[in-house]
Symmetry: C2
Subunit: 559 residues, 2 copies
């Protein structure tokens, strides 16, 4: 049994299988928005496709759309201040659930081969739409253009493909049938034919976040879909367009292949209680969530009928013990703290520096030297406006803006570098802020020991390297972390930090001074989250992310 | 990197890997208690080893043993009425947790290769102890001898090996390290070295049941252990000896291989609250449980710090629509209902028969005919006392005896066949009962729609085959089932039942008339439970049973 689309995309699947086995560099989707990779007209076509959505009804032909104005939502706001005015269909969640369940039978029938082939086709089609999706990600999330293209397009597609690949590997282990022949000594053997059917669990709900509407959504969508389930995507109400475009493409590819498109639908639900009711629906069997601890833990506590895969808040941290590349280290950190104004779940919040300072290739630097030099590095990095706007993007939410203001006002600690407001000439209404750097003592736990999402970082004075390692482990174990970094020239410090991250279960980046940043992870090679500390109970992607999304139902009879 | 014990047992592991891929018949452990398989003196040696425990202190040299009499538990009771008088060490759970955590570092260091090799050695050693363990299982659970040998010995070892094999497959997918080289156009490539460490989550608690002290315990023990975790086994307080023997053997093999034996310990805790406190311990990261819905759901609800793998109650059911082997069908059912007095989580409780009767190779049989003929088949099967005692064993608990008495008194429905008490000449104090068969209408839901653990079955009159299929699906979906059976000569009925079991997510046995029984599952081929209905949230074994018991922690740096 195979499927034409599995054959068509076999080399992509084989490449991805090889990549998750070796975890070396690999990607089928070009991260460069170049004509060579995407075609001469791709950039213009994509921009035009994006603009064609503005001011229009985004028709999806889903069941249960409410009548009249209640059937359309138009409150999406761009952090760049642009007018989007897209209207999205608002549908009765129960109708989406029932339609999804009804579509599952045909989806089961095409088998893992058909599901995988169709998912690979969907990803190829989304890849061809990368410019359109990039504009939609940029304008809804506030990301800069290049980041919106890469993270919103090919990198998100990579993470989706990665999930499909893990799901395929696990499903392909289950034989379709077997003949079981048990010897009975001198008597005839017992012989049975057995069949094994991979069945989805039910409807999977994927709840997106405002900042990464595709990157943090595609893993759950494709893990759930390829394992035989229906999917309802509930995007953040300010980042609808990327999800709507994605859903439309998925539905088109499903329909082309004889699958009821209602298998995948968009749920527009600005009211929290609508999402809560849907999340507790008895037919919702998995929930993928990226967002706050408050809602994430509510989902984990209350939605006992579902497997919940949650990425929550954390306190990412770095210890600077010593370095042989002081300038390059500061440059690397300046980029990390500035990228998308720190509105990433992987951005460093706590930078620990020993009270006695650090040894560097430029001599000994005191704690205050490091604070001042890091502030200067950030200022220097953002001194050219065109660089600053490309890297910073815009502040996505009023809550983040309020945290920046509070930090600037000295509410969280001594201000080493204040955030400044920048004017983006291309988007005069955009809210743009540079990062704020604060200095505090390790004992000022109330300041730095909870997530301050956005461009707010603390340079935490620790007694010494050992105290820093212990604090890093405690932050990770008690408050969670997706990323930890270390700068040290001493192998014993590196070894001690390595063991601390084994206990805390967090990825460690050591001595990053070049073009790789602690807050970036590469699909197929870097696990995003370990699933072993409070910042996330799952990882993008591993076997555990996919293996419990389907079940195997067997039948047996004598032959 | 390899390990001498992995090399030693490589052919077993290779066989098991092949078996889980093909799911055809395979087992490395002979199920026949024969001298050829186990050696000329094995039977005598095993009996002697078992008897050497009686009336003695079972010393385990664990930390935290309480002082004086409080440090020993001696209340284990045999369903056969035999005097065991073994005293087991009672240890402070906190001491077991801390000692387990401390032992994890060395266990992590030997890698998946070392852990898998050592687990394979443990299983080989347990296999050599099969007679000793069989006697201990028989005398603590009340199983008959042959069942105690097979299910308690080689079949339990099979399930343990199966879990080790799945765990090995998943761990072996994670490369130890890689070189990640990302092209940068005309600039030098970005090159990083990355390491991936498989780390256990913490302490795994395995809570055993009274009836299958090894078969239902080994999957959780070996899945948890081989993935890098410490294990605390908390057996049922009436089935301690098989677990104690197992723990002693595991600790011995660990110590022989330089691993701190406190990695695995026995927790004797007759008081429910001690187990509850332990289950909620922050360092307990997984719980494997077999038992009642009450305690199982308490664990799922309250122990949020742990992954809970639970096998709970269900209402296993069979639909008889038609048959071309009436006599053989009745014989097969008679064995199923009698085996270990129905004290199996897989025994059929509800046998659905259409009101209009069934077509058979012996002509049409009315509903009442089927009731009467099944009763006769059970009576005939148990008419020889030596067969009856070998098959029935003894009633394990007073609760089960009470249910039999209530059924006999007509409290649950019309008595078709009453349970009778038998005297076992070898064990005069044993409580032995034959099965009780009840007749009821599908509408008498209060009678049959909850688990009546033990030899209490209902012949449920349903309107027709379709009503039976619908009822089977409802029983499975709402109340759970580990096993469903069907007797039918019609392909459309078989197809409809097949689809119902896909929706209900339960294994289906079709037209069993020979030496395979609906309540028996074979490791490496039959999944025990699907994890997709209320009877169990996990399956023995699949990838989902192992993949979330470890996490991968990476580190990366430029080279």
């Amino acid at each position: 049994m195979t499927h034409p689309l599995l054959d068509k995309h076999r080399s992509t699947l084989d490449g991805a299988l090889q990549a998750i086995a070796s975890r070396s560099f690999w990607s089928p989707y070009s991260e460069m928005p170049s004509p060579r990779a995407y075609g001469e007209t791709a950039a213009d076509d994509g921009k035009q496709a994006f603009e064609s959505h503005l001011g229009k009804d985004f028709v999806l032909d889903q069941p249960g759309q409410l009548a009249g104005d209640a059937g359309w939502y138009d409150k999406e706001v761009s952090p760049y201040g642009a007018e989007l005015n897209v209207r999205y269909p608002v549908c009765e969640p129960e109708a989406l659930v029932q339609a999804g369940l009804a579509a599952m039978k045909g989806w089961q029938a095409v088998g893992a081969e058909g599901r995988t082939g169709i998912c690979l086709e969907i990803l190829a089609r989304l890849n061809a739409q990368s410019f359109e999706i990039a504009h939609s990600v940029m304008m809804t999330s506030g990301q800069g253009w290049m980041m919106a293209f890469q993270a919103g397009g090919p990198h998100a597609q990579d993470r989706g493909l990665e999930a499909v690949t893990y799901a395929w590997r696990e499903q392909s282990f289950v034989p379709k049938e077997t003949v079981w022949e048990k010897p009975q000594g001198k008597n005839p053997a017992l012989v049975m034919k057995k069949h094994y059917e991979v069945v989805g669990r039910g409807v999977g709900l994927v709840i997106g976040c405002a900042t990464f509407p595709t990157w943090n959504t595609y893993p759950g969508v494709f893990a759930t879909l390829s394992t035989g389930n229906a999917v309802i995507i509930k995007p953040h109400s300010n980042s609808l367009l990327p999800a709507a475009i994605t859903v439309r493409t998925i539905r088109a590819v499903l329909a082309e292949n004889g699958i009821d498109p209602n298998l995948v639908s968009l749920c527009v639900a600005p009211q929290r209680n609508v999402t809560q009711d849907l999340a507790r629906h008895p037919s919702v069997k998995s929930i993928d969530f990226t967002g706050s601890n408050g809602f994430g833990n509510w989902l984990i506590d209350k939605c006992r009928q579902a497997q919940v895969y949650a990425e929550l808040a954390g306190v990412n941290n770095i210890l600077i013990e010593s370095t042989d590349s002081y300038k390059a280290m500061l440059g690397n950190l300046a980029f990390t703290l500035s990228l998308y104004s720190g509105q990433m779940c992987t951005t460093t919040q706590a930078i620990m520096v020993p009270a006695g300072g650090i040894d560097t290739d430029e001599g000994h630097k005191s704690y205050d030297d490091v604070c001042a030099d890091l502030a200067k590095a950030v200022e220097r990095f953002l001194s050219k406006p065109e660089v600053a706007h490309a890297v910073l993007g815009a502040i996505q939410s009023d809550d983040t803006l309020a945290r920046i203001n509070a930090a600037n006002a000295g509410e969280y600690g001594r201000v080493v570098l204040a955030a400044t407001a920048l004017d983006n000439p291309a988007f005069p209404k955009a809210t743009v802020r540079t990062p704020v750097l604060l200095a505090c003592d390790a004992s000022d736990e109330a300041a730095y020991m909870e997530e301050r999402f956005g461009p707010v970082s603390f340079i935490v004075k620790v007694a010494d390297a050992n105290a820093g390692i212990a604090l890093s482990e405690r932050l990770t174990t008690e408050h969670g972390a997706l990323t930890v970094g270390l700068y040290s020239t001493k192998q014993d410090v590196i070894d001690a930090m390595t063991e601390a991250t084994w206990r805390g279960k967090v990825a460690l980046s050591i001595n990053l001074t070049g073009g790789v940043f602690v807050n970036q992870s590469a699909a197929f090679s870097d696990y995003h989250g370990t699933g072993g500390n409070p910042a996330a109970n799952a990882s993008y992607s591993d076997s555990a992310f996919v293996a419990n999304r389907f079940r195997v139902v067997q039948r047996r009879y004598h032959v």
